[in-house]
């Protein structure tokens, strides 16, 4: 029996202090998995550090605020005929050990998309109150929007896995709309997937406090515009 092809996707931007360890940790435990690092124009030594490992590093020619890295990862997974793709952030907040349970759930055909959630099992909170409230409320509204087809608690989780069926469907969705939903793309993906019959489940994931750098997706403008973007997503 041939071994399943697994692609690990790590989007990075200025993660020189954490990226090498994450890649090496994954490669030590899962030597057969391909690791893809997509760099969104880092200004530090992220590319240099990632290049010292077994990971394939793709450097985007222009910073598109993370949009191109998502599309690229899905296109590579689809074109490369991967059976599974798993995503982990390059900031070192998530335990590498969560990747295997995600893939295992897909292999057992429990779901088409598996999300590593911070709220399935109570774990120490690492984020601000406002972020948690936004995350939990958004997840509940997404479940309402999909009429119960999704039952998620952590819609913005950075650790996630897809099987070949969901890769095919989502790569086409992302490429066609050019990631026009910007910062609410994770939420949009769940709604789209649930409405297209993909099964989504969550498994517990433990997040650590960010030790280096700061969040790229959380700033004042994003925080203020998020409710409007999310509302637009819900009514569109």
């Amino acid at each position: 029996m041939s071994q399943d092809k697994v692609l690990v996707f790590i989007p990075v931007k200025n993660e020189e202090k954490t990226i090498k360890k994450i890649i090496n940790d994954i490669a030590d435990v899962h030597p057969s998995w391909d690791i893809l690092v997509i760099d969104d124009e880092s200004t530090d030594d992220t590319i240099k550090e990632a290049s010292k490992t077994k990971a394939r590093v793709v450097s985007l020619v222009m910073n598109t605020l993370g949009r191109s890295s998502v599309i690229t990862s899905f296109m590579i997974a689809y074109t490369g005929k991967y059976d599974y793709m798993v995503k982990i952030d390059g900031d070192g907040q998530q335990e590498v050990s969560v990747l295997w349970p995600l893939i295992q759930a897909l292999k057992n055909n429990q779901a088409d998309i598996v999300i590593g959630s911070r709220y399935v099992k109570k774990t120490p909170e690492t984020d601000s109150f406002i972020k948690v409230i936004g995350r939990v409320t958004s997840s509940a509204l997404i479940n309402f929007k999909t009429r119960g087809k999704s039952k998620i608690t952590d819609c913005t989780s950075g650790v996630k896995a897809w099987n070949a069926k969901s890769i095919r469907l989502l790569s086409s969705m992302y490429f066609n709309d050019g990631m026009c939903h910007g910062t609410v793309y994770l939420q949009r993906e769940i709604i789209f997937a649930a409405r297209n019959g993909l099964r989504i489940i969550e498994i517990p994931a433990f997040y650590k406090k960010r030790e280096h750098g700061k969040s790229k997706s959380f700033n004042l403008i994003n925080m203020l515009s998020y409710p409007f973007r999310f509302l637009f997503l819900l009514i569109s």
């Binding site: 893809l36 020619v61 599309i71 050019g178």
Partner: protein, 117 residues
Amino acid sequence: MVEVYSVIGFMVGVLFISISLLRLKKQNITQGVFTLWIIIGTTLIIIASFPLAIFTIQRLIGTQFVLSAVFGIPIVILTILVFHLHLKVDALNKDIVKLISKLAVKEYFQPSDKKEE
């Protein structure tokens, strides 16, 4: 007597038309953009040459004051232009994101021989 603002308006109109024609000669302008700026240039020249025409326009659109017509019409036109440009920029952004993704995928499957120092 010819007013200064008429001369300026006339010159700006001529400038728009000249640049549009020059670009057309070099085939460096699209038909839509060329038409738009020829219309704007011609309108400027007409209003600068016949300032009293603005009273006719004011009567036609029904504003109480001439100044309302003088400022109101360009504001409406500029708002439409901004809206049009915003849509174009948005579409271009989407295309750029797709293009960058395609380049990255190509780089992944067919890496170039260029090695970075």
